[in-house]
């Protein structure tokens, strides 16, 4: 009997496919998310848009919040640790969370090194903007990848950019000859063996979700159309006018992302989505996606 194998850790993410993982800040929101059909919840002290508004250093949530959420739902509970913050991750593992997000939404603890995730029993998800970042995180032990997007903006444009780039780079790698792969591995800054796997299979070796800016059912369906295995919705649910309705509608649109009549139906009378931010209005220093390369 073996725990924490890469099959067990990656398999857990496979079970999330086609699903919606929702950010929640307390037990009550967690129950709403589960009732709406979320496949997992991310327990946080503040959603990304509030982190953005508050400024200062964003850290791991108070363990009380994480435990409170774990107590009230039967679906998996995820929580965020700062990039490179080994101890926050160990603390979350000790609490029994089901997945750790080593996340650029929090203020990085280490500007050079990520956590060595392969030595943990609990699996990790990490953000990526391109194929190089995705494969570097996988090499460090990430069992699931998500686009970084631009968290807390309610603007889908960056998640679309990242998903299109990753998918385009995968297609490019598939078309390279074996001798060209060595050079490509050097250019991308990734191990040759992982790149060879992408060349042969035409996909990442782990599940790839969309995150960062999803605010409507149509946004979620767009990310599925672009090849995402599922979606994370951060501020988009509990910063909308009617979280319950938004949550249910986003779940349905993710399952039936090619059924446009259904998406039209679930999009009716939802109320106001979260207020978004135009990316060009963000100062360079406020971009979370540039953290942890």
């Amino acid at each position: 009997m073996e725990t924490g194998t890469s099959r067990v850790k990656r398999g857990m993410a496979e079970m999330q496919k086609g699903g919606v993982i929702m950010d929640v800040m307390n037990a009550e929101q967690a129950k709403i998310a589960e009732a709406a059909g979320a496949t997992a919840v991310m327990a946080l002290e503040r959603v990304p848009s509030d982190i953005r508004a508050a400024g200062g250093v964003a850290r791991m949530a108070d363990p009380t919040i994480v435990e409170e959420v774990m107590k009230v739902v039967s679906i998996p509970v995820m929580a965020k640790a700062r990039i490179g913050h080994y101890v926050e991750a160990k603390v979350l593992e000790s609490l029994g969370v089901d997945y750790i997000d080593e996340s650029e939404v929090l203020t990085p603890a280490d500007e050079v090194f990520h956590i060595n995730k392969s030595e943990f029993t609990v699996p990790f998800v990490c953000g990526a903007k391109d194929l190089g970042e995705a494969l570097r995180r996988i090499q460090e032990g990430a069992s699931m990848i998500r686009t970084k997007g631009e968290p807390g903006t309610g603007n889908i444009v960056e998640a679309v950019r990242h998903m299109r780039l990753i998918m385009g780079q995968i297609r490019h790698v598939q078309n390279l000859s074996k001798d060209e792969l060595y050079h490509e591995a050097k250019v991308l800054g990734v191990p040759y063996e992982l790149l060879l796997g992408v060349h042969e299979t035409g996909r990442l070796p782990v599940v790839n979700f969309a995150a960062g800016g999803i605010a409507t059912p149509a946004d979620a369906a767009l990310m599925m159309h672009l090849g995402s295995d599922g979606v994370f919705v951060g501020s988009g649910i509990f910063k909308s006018e009617n979280p319950e309705k938004f949550a249910r509608a986003i779940v349905e649109a993710t399952t039936h992302y090619e059924d446009y009549e259904l998406i039209a139906r679930v999009s009716k009378n939802l109320g106001t989505p979260m207020k978004g931010i135009e990316i060009s209005k963000l100062d360079r220093s406020e971009r979370m996606q540039d953290r942890g390369l």
Binding site: E2, R7, M15, G18, G19, T39, E93, V251
Partner: protein
Amino acid sequence: MKIGVLALQGAVAEHIRSIEQAGGSGVAVKRTEQLGEIDGLIIPGGESTTIGKLMRKYGFIEAIREFAQAGKPVFGTCAGLIVLAERLEGAEEPHLRLMDMTVARNAFGRQRESFETDLDVKGIDTPLRAVFIRAPLIKEVGPEVEVLSTYKGEIVTARQGNLLASSFHPELTDDFRLHSYFLDMAKEAAERARS
């Protein structure tokens, strides 16, 4: 044999791949009308609360009950096993109520307790590599249910006529023998229907 994989949420592509490796053809099922075109149905692993909710919403509860009652085989893995059960421990309402068994969800604990192991399964000659992820257990079964495998004394694979259920994920390994077993069930059912 054409096997459908219920594609509301969960590990759909892995089951389709395994069925095809075992010699069948696999198709993702998103609408109840598709049940008329398949010889057997797999309900995959995923989150049972999500899958159950979406099944209710799109009329799959009645449609799959009719499909199974017509003698067509259904195979549930992990969340799929939960969905098949007549009785569930805890707060979750039972879904299809097809198999006479009581199931406990997340019976081994949280993700850090998830594991893989070699498992003897009745009808398969050598042990299977079985991957258990936040897996459920079958706590007790009715007289019609045959136990196919146990882990540490607890039931993890069972069959009731045309219904098959496993706590673990045969679709996550490159061993396709449990999928072959299910394909044989589909062939037998098709022959029965013809005669």
